[in-house]
């Protein structure tokens, strides 16, 4: 029997039991849709994080105390403000170094209040990171040196506190202390539904006094070019560990952050897809089950076909094609639903979702494979039926 005949007879048989076919497919539909959606969300999250990390600027090295390990609490910082100057001398360019000490604080204007990430930094931030301003100016060297109480607001902070009013020149109260607004950042957007524009930059000197700390959290160093990153990394660590004996420091690059985050999210995506894949297997078992029922119901038909000259492989092909058509059609529907749901999630919710084309190819391949795998047993059973016995069945 030609494959085309097997297909048309499979379609006839599946149409004859339309409801049962659809219900059988449902397992595969749900499984495939779940795989596509979860992979889309995983890839979306990964892309979002990458965009965020890459958006920081280029050729950055982030120096932090302790050993950087995901899942462990950050080490107590030994870094001082003077270490920024120290590293500036090391790289031979003070403008390539910026610091941060940050804390979540209440920021108020009149009776409007937000909870923002208050970041104590230096005037070099615009030179190290990509943070353009929408209005006003950034912190100056004098602001930092003289511990001026001036602030640059994230676009969301500005909007929440001032609405349509021009914020530059006005006062905000941060943790009870008044600061004058000198600038507003351009908008970055949000990640996972969390605004990244809800921040305030103040001179690091003012921030340390405000938070009551001596330390700084991290130092960012901008390497002159891509090739300089590696050597610079080791020089920075060596120099700091020389300076603070017995302490450890880490200098991580964007590539490393991307690599780590990427592999974590990649693993997460695979785990999610595997969990969804279980439902696909359950769907496959359902297909197998229904095909066995179908073989039993159609025992006489099988006997007849054999009497008319169907070979074992003709009957096997007929039932195998039927199972594969079931799972493939189910897979296609599932892919459609998955893509639709992922696109809807991306558009209408805060969850970033990105259709991974490989996941569609995979889902399709797996649907076909599930049909073959779970169809082969019932189909073999059909193929090996004894025609005399089959014809006699009621």
């Amino acid at each position: 029997m030609k494959l085309g005949e097997a297909f048309s007879s499979a379609l006839t048989a599946l149409r004859a039991n339309r409801l049962r076919s659809v219900l059988t497919m449902l397992g595969v539909i749900i499984g495939v849709a779940a795989v596509v959606i979860l992979v889309a969300i995983g890839s979306g999250a990964k892309r979002e994080v990458e965009r965020q990390v890459e958006g920081l600027g280029s050729n950055l090295i982030l120096v932090v105390p302790g050993q950087v390990q995901f899942g462990s609490a950050p080490a107590l910082s030994r870094l001082q403000l003077e270490d920024a100057a120290f590293l500036g001398r090391l790289v031979g360019n003070q403008d390539a170094v910026a610091v941060t000490v940050s804390s979540g604080e209440q920021v108020r204007v009149g009776n409007r209040m937000v909870f923002a990430n208050v970041n104590g930094t230096t005037e070099t931030v615009p030179l190290v990171f990509d943070r353009p301003l929408a209005r006003g100016r950034y912190l100056s060297g004098a602001d930092v040196e003289t511990r001026r109480r001036v602030a640059v607001l994230g676009s969301q902070t500005a909007r929440d506190l001032f609405g349509d009013v021009e914020p530059v020149g006005r006062q905000v109260t941060i943790a009870g202390v008044r600061f004058r607004v000198i600038g507003v950042f351009t908008e970055i957007g949000s990640t996972f539904g969390v605004s990244r524009d809800l921040e305030v930059h103040v001179p690091v000197s003012a921030a340390q006094r405000l938070f009551g700390v001596e330390r700084i959290d991290a130092i960012a160093v901008k390497a002159p070019n891509l090739d300089a990153i590696g050597p610079l990394q080791s020089r920075i660590i060596a120099a700091l560990q020389d300076k603070y004996e017995g302490e450890t420091f880490s200098a991580v690059t964007q590539t490393q952050i991307l690599g780590t985050v990427g592999s974590i999210l990649g693993l997460l995506t695979i785990v999610l897809a595997a969990i969804a894949g279980i439902s696909l297997v359950v769907g496959g078992v359902g297909v197998s089950n229904i095909m066995l029922v179908s073989v039993r119901e159609r025992t006489r038909e099988i006997g007849l076909r054999k009497a008319l000259g169907a070979r074992q492989r003709d009957v096997l092909a007929q039932f195998l094609v039927e199972a594969v058509v079931l799972t493939t059609v189910g897979g296609l529907i599932g892919m459609g639903l998955g893509v639709g749901a992922a696109l809807a999630a991306d558009r209408f919710t805060q969850l970033p979702a990105e259709i991974a084309w490989w996941s569609l190819a995979l889902a399709f391949g797996v649907s076909v494979a599930v049909g073959v795998f779970f169809g082969v047993f019932p189909a073999r059973r059909a193929g090996s039926l004894d025609p005399v016995v089959a014809l006699r069945t009621e």
């Binding site: 029997m1 030609k2 005949e5 006839t12 004859a16 006489r300 038909e301 006997g303 007849l304 076909r305 054999k306 009497a307 008319l308 000259g309 169907a310 070979r311 074992q312 492989r313 003709d314 004894d386 025609p387 005399v388 014809l391």
Partner: protein, 264 residues
Amino acid sequence: MSPLEGAQRAASQGPPEASSQVDPQASPPAAVEAVDVRRSYRVGSGQVDALRGVSVSIRPGDYVALIGPSGSGKSTLMHLLGLLDRPTSGQVLVAGRDTRTLDDDGLAELRNRTIGFVFQAFQLLARTTAVDNVALPLIYRGAGRRERRDRAVAALEAVGLGHRLDHRPAQLSGGEQQRVAIARALVGEPSLLLADEPTGNLDSVTGAEVMATLERLNRERGVAVMLVTHDRDVAARAGRQIRMRDGLVVDPATAAPVAWGPDS
């Protein structure tokens, strides 16, 4: 004469020159021939001997009725002659060819080309039109759609159902259904048609219609027909009767073609 002697004769001698219809020079082999076939079934710890050494020979153009009481082994013999089943011992030859060497797929192919079946219960596919039911055997020959349809239509016309092509079995009378089944058995132009109680599910009038169709096809096309029947009148119209009892042919001489004559 013992069944074994009959078998040896049928196997070794072939028809003598006495044959009236067949050119003695050509002496074509039997359409199908069973030589001392036995068929036992294992049931529980025991054994049922459904056939205990049967030899029959059906020549091209024969019209044979297989008769005998219930349980005598008629259906079992039909299954063996139709290559649906294999004998426990003995051999079945189709057009002179030993079938013991064939595997299941080989049997299926030979069956498809040389044998047509008509069953008591029609065995039509319920969701399928008459013409598609009839075309079914041709699918397993790899025939194209056009050819299948043309031949199926021709076969249905040959059994007088040219006006029922797209009817489903449920939309046909019992007699019509059995004629569709006959058309299906014929569509592949087999040399032998095996019918196990083809009128068993039909009343006498439609049964007679079906029998007339079979007789006409045998006469006009020369297709050999072997049918099992419990109906004396039907059996009487056959060119030859083979009677069975307890897994044996009662008068083995009848198992050979009539043209030999009982005493040859």
